[in-house]
């Protein structure tokens, strides 16, 4: 048996009303809102957050494969999954792989994951899909797309949903693309892209899987159909004979079209509301189409109680100005305070400090028990030399001991909040506080750590951790 053992999700806290985006350009506003990744977020940071959300539900399972699907990887050459594995503190014998370049990446990876588990080559495969796609301002897609990530643990035991079947079609289709040197996703004429790139392959794969496993539309509690928007999704569902009540929304009008993450966001949305015995149909498109059938088990209740999706949807802050949106997406250069140049970024230092920086690992003195970050050779409390064990800070909650609101330090959106954080269980760090309204910051405020990108220098994305207000 193979299936889903747990899930996690991450949406950036910032949301922008679609009509606000339209208002800037004097175009027609669509209903709902979209998630906007902060300037310090990208596909890798959001993937890490989704993975953490997933892994919190299954602390004890060792991950032997990590698959990351995205169309917006920070590097054309250099793996992203290994960055996420480092941030999660996974052991080096994990197999990591990126699935890039296809909107169908998440389900292509799902096929690979289920194959690996079924064949006995892997027991626990962490599959993450994450996208922060860039599209030119003004168009409908600027309104429709949203940023986000979702993760599922594919395994053989403690399953909340069992895989009952799958079906796949492949074809060479150019509907949306981003070629060499392109910053933004381009597309062909919309009606052609919808008819031949979406409706036709989705119909074929869904009809195909229902014939293959002898199911009728009414056999499914929910159908999760990846879609460019709700209107096209509902039209597709109707032509296939599904009732609209069966159609599972993938947060299209609250978060937006999350690209490769959309099928997993939809699947998780269905799972969060599912009852044992429910049968789910999942279908996605992009250079062909994939379809899967899952059956929900009794174990769903334990995982549902965590409310990971609901929590993510509830945590929100508004992006009120289009200028903030432009800066968060790095679409516009701005004049900044004239500050000293940063110290040159050394790849050797990044390599040497991988664990310290990406997994936020400090040390605990074996002699006096003092925990400290960053790692030291000599204990700050008792001066014992080289007598430490690793101590992870990334999962520790903390409180603000003191803070500043800095208007001088260069940042895409000013001011920047910095704080001294005291961790539960000991230890202190001073760092940036992100995803905060500067007027919110106060001494004693509870915070948690979040994986972020500090800067991109010379094409290198420099990842580290920041604090953010703890929100229930």
């Amino acid at each position: 048996m193979v299936g889903i053992a747990c899930y996690g999700v991450y949406f950036p806290i910032r949301r922008m009303k679609r009509e606000q985006l339209a208002e800037v350009w004097g175009t027609a506003g669509l209903a709902g809102e979209r998630a906007v990744a902060n300037y310090d977020e990208d596909a890798v940071t959001m993937a890490t957050e989704a993975a953490i959300s997933c892994m919190r539900g299954v602390q004890k399972k060792p991950i032997d494969r990590l698959l990351l699907a995205t169309t917006s990887a920070p590097y054309y050459e250099k793996q992203s999954a290994s960055i996420v594995a480092s941030a999660l503190g996974l052991s080096s014998d994990v197999f990591t792989v990126d699935y890039t370049g296809s909107l169908r990446g998440a389900t292509i990876a799902l096929t690979a994951a289920t194959d690996a588990v079924e064949s006995g080559h892997a027991r626990n495969v962490l599959l993450i899909a994450s996208d922060k796609r860039a599209v030119l301002p003004k168009g409908k897609r600027e309104q429709l797309w949203g940023d986000g990530a979702a993760a599922v643990l594919v395994g053989e035991s403690d399953l909340i949903a069992v895989l009952e079947g799958s079906h796949s079609l492949s074809e060479n289709f150019l509907g949306e693309w981003r070629g060499e040197g392109d910053m933004f996703v381009k597309s062909w004429e919309e009606r052609f892209v919808i008819d031949e790139g979406y409706m036709r392959p989705m119909r074929e794969v869904i009809i195909g899987i229902m014939e293959k496993y002898r199911f009728e539309p009414r056999d499914f509690r929910r159908v999760i159909l990846s879609a460019p928007d709700t209107r096209r999704r509902n039209r597709l569902a109707k032509t296939l004979g599904f009732e609209l009540t069966q159609v599972q929304d993938a947060c299209l009008d609250t978060i937006g079209n999350t690209g490769t993450a959309q099928p997993l966001v939809g699947l998780i949305s269905a799972l969060e509301e599912a009852s044992p015995g429910d049968r789910l149909l999942l279908a996605t498109y992009g250079d062909g189409a994939d379809a899967f059938i899952f059956r929900v088990t009794e174990k769903i209740k334990d995982i549902q109680q965590r409310h990971e999706l609901k929590k993510c949807l509830r945590r929100r802050m508004s992006v009120n100005r289009y200028s903030e949106y432009l800066k968060m997406r790095n679409f516009v250069a701005t004049e900044e305070p004239k500050r000293p140049e940063p110290i040159p970024l050394s790849v050797t230092c990044l390599w040497r400090e991988n664990k310290k920086n990406l997994a936020l690992v400090g040390v605990k003195c074996k002699k006096c028990g003092t925990v400290q970050y960053p790692p030291q050779r000599v204990c700050v409390a008792c001066k014992a030399k080289d007598n430490f064990e690793d101590y992870s800070f990334s999962d520790k909650k903390g409180t603000v001991f003191t803070f500043s609101v800095d208007y001088l330090t260069p940042a895409p959106v000013s001011p920047t909040v910095f704080a001294v954080i005291d961790f539960e269980g000991g230890g202190r760090i001073w760092c940036e506080v992100t995803d905060i309204d500067p007027s919110e910051i106060k001494i004693g405020m509870p915070v948690e750590m979040t994986f972020r990108k500090l800067a991109t220098v010379n094409g290198i994305s420099n990842y580290f951790w920041k604090a953010r207000p703890y929100r229930k």
């Binding site: 305070p337 004239k338 500050r339 000293p340 940063p342 110290i343 040159p344 970024l345 050394s346 050797t348 230092c349 990044l350 040497r352 400090e353 920086n357 003092t370 400290q372 970050y373 030291q376 700050v380 409390a381 001991f401 003191t402 803070f403 500043s404 609101v405 800095d406 208007y407 001088l408 330090t409 260069p410 001011p415 920047t416 910095f418 704080a419 001294v420 005291d422 000991g426 230890g427 202190r428 760090i429 001073w430 760092c431 940036e432 500067p438 001494i443 500090l454 800067a455 220098v457 420099n462 580290f464």
Partner: protein, 398 residues
Amino acid sequence: MPGIKDRVSIIGMGCTKFGELWDKSVEDLIVEAVYEAFDDAGVGPDDIQAAWFGTVYSGLTAVTLAKALKLRYIPITRVENMCATGTEALRAAAYAIAAGIYDIALVVGVEKLKDTGWTGVSSANVVSQSMISSSNTEPDITAPSMFAMLANRYFYVYKISPDEGKRLLAHIVVKNHHNGALNPKAHFRREVTIDDVLNSPIVAWPLGILDSCGVSDGAAAAILTRSDLARSFREDPIDIKALAICTGDSRPTLTTDYDFTHVEENFLAAQMAYEEAGIKNPRKEISIAEVHDCFSIHEMLIYEDLQFSARGKARIDIESGAFTLDGDLPINTDGGLKSFGHPIGASGLRMIYEVYKQLQGKCGPRQIKNPTLGLTHNLGGSIGIGNVASVCILGRRD
């Protein structure tokens, strides 16, 4: 430990005007400061046996000093110790004189910041890492931001509202600008009002632009000799009573012990200096102090760290005017970093210049009455990662 007290004297000093000296180079600043010191001491370049050259950004080697002054083939050392650089250079020279190695030594501190185009100096993140390579994960916490962290915690612990706190700090700014307006060598020579300070744009909450010192160019120099030789140069040499440096070890963020309402390095450097100088009651015994008012909140904390005010009670002394020119312990009589800006390598020696001139009774409209002991203080580095504090105590010879 015999200490440095009464073993080394200053026999000459020089200090340039500080400011945005667009038309002056590092060489110009060195020559101006040093030749004033030569004239003051009655010596020339050929009398100098060794020199210490303090700068953070304005010369990587001692050759910069030798080249400007044509000091031929004598030992010169470039010194860098963040904002304590100028005082650190003086300390090195004083120890060499006290050790009997040289009879006459030159100390120079210089900084030419205005050629950089920077707004403010580097952030806290340079303190703990190499200047040429890094993983750059230290937060880019600017200097005002670090001191804002102290202000916010201080206000919280002592239950001072942000508005009250800002008003309290504004008194310090008004005082220093008043003193600076009396000083022709100051960069900013204008009085400011409490409202000016309260309304100045925020740099790092709760600190505004007027709570912060400026970025300036400047240089200062001193000529040292053994105390037993000093009177052969001048009637009124100024004796070194104490020289202390205290370096932090990153405890403030490696442990949770540090309270962010004081600066431990300040307190300990002052303790060392008071002990060396034999001072029991600093508030009573010290006549004048030049302290590191890089940000208004820091001057307030220094009052407590240097034991001029009791912990948590600086407010009382600020409100009573204890540290104004007419108060019982005038502080930053020359206008401080607030009026001079902070050319990093020069600031320590600029403070020593003021104390030296005050002890000699040469400060004109800002001269205080009959000072006997003066103190200078610097703090550099990073509040969270580690600081260097320096304290120098000078005395008049009667």
